[in-house]
Symmetry: C2
Subunit: 434 residues, 2 copies
């Protein structure tokens, strides 16, 4: 088998065989396939596409480039959630403790923020002492002890994906549904889970800008998961406006505690409950979604979810007292309010612009190697649909560096639209895929 023949076949719109895809992934993993051949094939795949079967084979080959974790020794249904990424999207920190409190085992491997979207690991590391780099053995022990572990991807998990992801980033081959699907699903399948709920974001602040593309991605992900023996379903949620009222790592952690205390913003609470309820049904600890949602809301009302989060934090070396004393979290020394230029209704609060403003403040990163400031970020004082008077604060920027503030003000100001009429309310959950 020659790499160049595989490239030519896909270039000319052909369908690759299982062996050809395996040859490619093995070569990428062990370094025998030069990266210039890998990138040519990635471009051919991006342009010509891949069938459902090819995508499943690619995913499977990527899973087998490393280890598929065996969690069968741990009692209970192992269920995870994955979001395609958005601004203010912090549901993982809410639903993992809630799902664990309701009886699931949640082995959650997450990533870091890149570009305008945040990452779960960065948020967790805003908690003093919290260690995300657990070994597989430590992860398993945590699952037994507290029903949940929230960690970074270990080196054993889909190593082909690490190489391909880095290559795609610099060769213009990111925006391919088959490649995105295989990247996401190979990591999730390798975690050793029984079931998976996906939150596919759609809109200006999402990776997929249109509902049609988001649905295509959701369908691809769900089909791969189910074909690999992982019960998988997806919801499609709007990401035109940031989720919740906080953007930035420590600020988002606080908002998660607020949701777990029953006083978080409605949009964030609703999506978190919906996702957790679906996890419970897929994991078999609830028989229907309505009953499951009730169970989740009870775990909030009773404080069990919050208590479970304290135990998870403690188990991973963090200071659980932050849940009750937010002053123990890093906070930025300065505040700057961006106010309404006129009276009216907020008609637009563009998620991507808010995300980019937050990155400007230091809350996120443009390049993988950049450091993140856990303290800085943005609090949304008025969101889409709210009435404002001229001079009212809309965004409160929490900053450290005045130079960074100036850049963030520009980006944040672009996010805001004010009009004369209140915009129609739009549903947050716009679709689902089984």
């Amino acid at each position: 088998m020659r790499a160049v023949d595989i490239i030519i076949k896909k270039r000319d719109g052909g369908t690759l065989g299982r062996e050809e895809i395996g040859f490619f992934v093995t070569g990428v993993t062990d370094g025998t396939l030069p990266d210039y051949q890998a990138s040519a094939l990635l471009m051919a795949i991006l342009v010509r596409g891949m069938s459902t079967e090819e995508t499943a084979w690619l995913t499977d080959a990527m899973v087998h480039s490393g280890e598929r974790v065996d969690l069968s020794g741990i009692p209970g249904a192992k269920v995870d959630k994955h979001s395609t990424g958005g601004v203010g999207d912090k549901t993982s920190l809410i639903l993992a403790p809630l799902a664990a409190a309701c009886g699931l085992v949640v082995p959650m491997m997450s990533g870091r923020g890149l570009g305008h979207t945040g990452g779960t690991l960065d948020k967790l590391e805003a908690i003093p002492g919290f260690r995300v780099q657990l070994s597989l053995e430590e992860m398993k022990a945590a699952l037994v002890a507290v029903g949940c572990a929230m960690i970074g991807q270990t080196a054993q998990i889909a190593p082909a994906d690490k190489i391909l992801y880095a290559l795609r980033d610099v060769t213009g081959t990111v925006e391919s549904i088959p490649l995105i699907s295989a990247s996401i699903m190979s990591k999730k399948i390798a975690e050793g889970i029984d079931a998976l709920v996906l939150d596919v974001k759609t809109g200006s602040g999402a990776f997929m800008k249109t509902e049609a593309d988001s649905r295509r991605l959701a369908e691809s992900l769900v089909s791969i998961g189910n074909a690999s023996g992982v019960r998988t379903e997806a919801i499609i949620t709007a990401m035109d406006v940031p989720l919740g009222r906080a953007v930035g790592n420590a600020l988002e952690v606080i908002e998660c505690f607020e949701v777990l205390k029953g006083r978080g913003p409605a949009d964030l609470t609703d999506v978190s409950v919906e996702l957790t309820a679906r996890m419970l049904v897929l994991g078999g600890v609830a028989s229907d979604r309505a009953g499951a949602a009730q169970q989740v809301r009870k775990a909030i009302a009773s404080g069990e979810g919050l208590e479970r989060f304290r135990r998870i934090i403690e188990r991973q070396g963090g200071d659980p007292r932050v849940a009750d004393d937010y002053a123990r979290l890093p906070s930025a020394p300065e505040r700057h309010a961006i106010t309404a230029a006129r009276s009216g209704f907020v008609t637009r609060l563009d998620a991507e612009s808010v995300g980019r403003a937050s990155v400007s403040l230091g809350a996120g990163r443009d390049r993988v190697a950049d450091a993140v400031d856990p303290a800085v970020g943005i609090i949304i004082k008025a969101t889409v649909g709210d009435a404002v008077r001229e001079g009212d604060p809309i965004l409160e920027l929490h900053y450290r560096d005045p130079a960074k503030l100036q850049q963030a003000i520009g980006r944040a100001s672009e996010a805001i639209g004010i009009g004369d009429t209140r915009p129609a309310a739009r549903p947050l959950i716009v679709g689902e895929v089984h």
Copy 2:
């Protein structure tokens, strides 16, 4: 400027600007652009294409990756020919001395054979002592002394092409008319010529299998040449059957001497005269094609062409006595005839299969690093249209190694078709592009 943005632009079907193309070629040449980005862009170009303007910019950037040779100090019109490659295509060795004998200056830089097609340098090196690696200064001195130099590409000529060509070969990005055009024309323009005649081959033994593709390539090449101030025209010639009766390096050299002695095969003589006549007109030493053709045929009849070839050979260190004593050329120790399996007419003599059989014998190479045996090859005893009786020889294989012979017999046998009716004669020159 970021390479990834250029890749994405072309990937999405956009038109690249002159600066973007320059950035790419400069990066490839000085090594600052990683080859995985270059190959992703090459694949995007192959799939999305390039406008005439983009192709011209690419060619120009590749010319300027090295030196454009200055031949203005040498009196006379500097004219070259380029063929896109075929089987038995040895016209360069015939037309270069003829054109020089008729008053042109011919600075000919050629390549080596690869795959089923032969290369001018390999043929010249079949002549004992012939040196193809002249420096630019040696080349200029030869042009002044004998009006012609036939050499390999020097390192100063379009270095970007060397890198890109090697990369295209292993990344499935060879078959792109803009990339092929820029590769050919950058080298020819950098030679410092005033005019260029192209022989674009078409058919089963050519790189372009259809006349439509060959015409598109010819049009692309001619437009780039003229835009760069090199008067350029092209003929399109059939390459379904080998050109002439000899395939293999020393055997082809002998056939060239035969043509220059006025007793070569008609097809090879006609194409050589046609190409030379066009060179004379483009170079301004003849006013019309018919008169030019007469002038060329006179140079054959008078022996001036042959005499000029002797002087070129001597100038480049070769033994000019080979022209009159073929025994001074390498020859293979053994012969094997492939005969007609039945009586009838030869209806097919597939150029690619004959070329591959010749490569099997050792006359060509599958990989750039392979060595070539100058002595081995194939003599065509009966070609398309000839009547044969069962047992008549059709191909005579000149071989050294019996194991290689076995492989060659298989390939050569596949080349031959015999039928009951004489096939209609087909023209050799099927089109022209100005």
